[in-house]
């Protein structure tokens, strides 16, 4: 057991650090959060620069533009981009960390060739279409219908909490293809071209006052059958592949943000009791980093650890603790959201962390049942 990176990894770190210094020097200021067109440009420009420098898709196969680098270099990348305060995935979140890895694992060679290189080059932005108004925690109860009509699925229904719905070129879409089957057995995973007729996207205004999500209305949208990932009615299994990436590394991006935020917050924290609280938060964040390192080590060795079931639960709650501390420390400076630092905005954003991607309650059910072996609740 050790935390020492190899000489290769350290060489990778040195190159990356030098590259980041140059690349960040002429980075344009980050656009306002509700200017989605500008955000798309800013995030995809950065992605393209990463790609050109050989830092995109570190753990993706080489034949689709990835680097097939060892997992330890992924960690070095995260450490260095955190340290340098480089942009992270931004609007490329679903493509790079959700839909993309799913296509890597489950897609056909044609699907991989069509999408993976474009995602890595920042030429294709993805959005999410999983949740529905009636299907939140009980995602498998989803009702958006897809009826086979020759070479197409005709899709009708409604999706909500679509991340990047305003600007997505493709959506990862869960549909019900067999309404007669048990709910987990009748679902199919589709790639939805967002320019098809019959799709309406409505921004959804959140507690931040901006539209971090969208609602999706689908009215007899004809989706080509070749957009299906995995077999028909096997979509729940594919979804669990997607969600395993979410549990694995996708939320490291939030951890990157939280690590930066706590460093920024520390100088404001002067009261000794508050500084002790800060220490507990830092200790937990450091431990979540350590757990991430353990996960990466274990997955590289093919060991199925319990860490992936714990990361999101742990980091979401520690982020909220940090947010609460920030608000107490700043006292009346919190009365304006855009006042002192990003702390108020981040506190608002973190309200979603224990809800999105499986509430903390659902996470505890999964951990209790799948990892600890406790009996299922009657349902």
């Amino acid at each position: 057991m050790d935390l020492r990176f190899s000489d290769d990894d350290e060489a990778f770190r040195a190159d990356l650090r030098a590259w980041l210094k140059t690349a960040l020097a002429d980075l344009a200021p980050q656009p306002p959060r509700d200017d989605w067109d500008a955000r798309r440009v800013w995030d995809t420009d950065w992605q393209r620069r990463l790609f050109d420098a050989g830092y995109a898709g570190l753990n993706w196969p080489k034949e689709y533009g990835g680097q097939a680098a060892p997992p330890s270099q992924q960690l070095v990348f995260l450490e260095e981009t955190t340290r340098a305060r480089a942009p992270y995935v931004g609007v490329n979140f679903v493509g790079l960390l959700h839909a993309g890895p799913t296509i890597v694992a489950e897609g056909t060679p044609e699907q991989k060739a069509a999408h993976l290189p474009k995602i890595l080059r920042g030429e294709e932005v993805w959005c999410q279409g999983f949740s529905e108004p009636g299907s939140g925690s009980d995602l498998a109860s989803l009702r958006t219908r897809a009826v086979r009509d020759g070479d197409h699925y005709v899709v009708t229904g409604q999706k909500i909490w679509c991340s990047y719905g305003q600007i997505g070129d493709f959506g990862e879409l869960l549909v019900r293809t067999d309404p007669e089957a048990p709910k987990h057995k009748g679902i199919t995973w589709l790639m939805l071209p967002m320019d098809l007729p019959g799709i309406e996207v409505r921004p959804l205004k959140t507690v931040l006052g901006s539209s971090e999500f969208a609602e999706l209305f689908l009215d007899e949208v004809r989706v080509p059958v070749e957009c299906r990932v995995g077999e028909e009615n096997d979509g729940w299994r594919v979804t669990n592949v997607t969600l395993s990436f979410e549990r694995g590394t996708a939320f490291v991006s939030d951890l990157v943000d939280a690590t930066r935020l706590v460093e920024d917050l520390a100088p404001y924290v002067t009261d000794p009791a508050h500084r002790r609280e800060l220490s507990h938060i830092v200790a937990e964040l450091d431990a979540v980093w350590a757990l991430t390192k353990r996960n990466v080590t274990q997955s590289a060795r093919g060991v199925a650890g319990r860490g992936p079931y714990m990361i999101k639960l742990a980091y979401s709650e520690v982020c909220q603790k940090m947010g609460e501390l920030a608000l107490r420390v700043l006292e009346r400076d919190i009365l304006t959201v855009d006042g002192e630092g990003p702390f108020v905005e981040e506190r608002l954003r973190s309200l979603a962390f224990t809800i999105a991607a499986g509430t903390s309650q659902i996470q505890r059910n999964i951990l209790g049942e799948r990892v600890l072996g406790l009996p299922r609740e009657p349902r």
Binding site: M1, L3, A266, V282, A283, Q298, R306, E369, G373
Partner: protein, 307 residues
């Protein structure tokens, strides 16, 4: 980087676990610490790991197993020493109470200038009985009669003794937190109310899930601290150790409380082992710096510190 137990460490863990389960079942643990406990652990090499070429990470793996088994004794103070040893920081409040004092050969005293001395127990306390009613029935305490005793100076850096003690104590706490999770999960699987196992109810299941997360975060924090002691270039020793002691101490205490709750009325009995774990956790919180001490230490590594 391989931040997981190596094959050798897995073998070490399994070996010490088998030893603890074989030699120290709970009915023996309940008899408390004596010379035979020390002798069997010493024979197994538990206290001489460093001298035998093992790393701090290896030592953490071993102490985690001792904590799982709630093996009693001044085990952290005995680490690295041939003779049965206890110790205390004479500058701390409450330092007139010292664990296991009447049962040891040597006492390490840390004086207020942070110099270390080795003292004969008879020079600290007159021969006699321990204080009547220790919080942890397996951790008897003696009241010292003199505050600071002149002894044989020990040429050990305070920081090393303190940090290594904090690490091994944290590892022991991780083992307790992990074992408490297993005990609570097993009870929640077996105990029936409303015609079903109580572990099927979210109210109970979620307590168990939180216990597991606490134990795991404390474990990786402790392993990270051990790795930093082994290889100082891989992190901040102060920050890693403080984080480990804070999280491991909290995990042991909170998991002790949680296990008591899951066990319900049985958790409040002397017969069920949970209280012994919780009481040990409270005792260990006072050793090698409590959570407030380490929180202050960690805060001093963060921006804005005036320390």
């Amino acid at each position: 980087m391989n931040f997981d137990l190596t094959d050798d460490q897995l073998a070490l863990r399994d070996g010490i676990r088998a030893l603890v389960e074989g030699r120290f079942p709970m009915d023996r643990v309940r008899d408390g610490f004596d010379r035979s406990v020390h002798a069997e652990l010493a024979d197994a090499g538990v206290f001489s790991l460093r001298a035998d070429g093992f790393s701090w990470a290896d030592a953490a793996v071993v102490f985690e197993e001792l904590g799982r088994g709630l093996v009693p004794g001044p085990l952290v103070w005995c680490f690295g020493r041939d003779r049965i040893t206890s110790g205390y920081d004479a500058s701390l409040a409450g330092s007139d109470l010292v664990e296991f004092l009447g049962l040891v050969d040597d006492v390490v005293v840390i004086d207020p200038r942070r110099a270390l001395a080795l003292v004969h127990p008879a020079d600290v306390v007159a021969a006699g009985e321990p204080e009547g009613w220790p919080l942890d029935p397996l951790t008897p305490v003696w009241r010292t009669e003199k505050q600071v005793i002149a002894g044989e100076p020990l040429d050990l850096p305070f920081a090393d003794v303190w940090d290594q003690g904090a690490l091994l104590t944290a590892a022991y706490c991780v083992g307790m937190a992990d074992r408490l999770t297993e005990m609570a999960v097993a009870y929640a699987q077996e105990r029936q109310q409303f015609d079903r196992p109580i572990g099927s109810f979210q109210a109970v299941k979620h307590i168990c899930a939180d216990m597991a997360v606490r134990a795991e975060l404390a474990r990786v924090a402790t392993h990270a601290a051990a790795c930093v002691l082994d290889d100082p270039a891989t992190g901040s020793r102060a920050r890693a150790l403080a984080g480990a002691k804070v999280l491991a101490g909290e995990a042991a205490i909170l998991n002790g409380r949680s296990a008591t709750q899951v066990y319900g009325g049985m958790g409040f009995t002397w017969e069920v082992d949970v209280h012994l774990f919780l009481k040990r956790a409270w005792v260990l919180e006072t050793q090698f710096g409590g959570s407030d001490h380490h929180a202050d230490a960690l805060a001093s590594t963060m921006p804005g510190s005036h320390a």
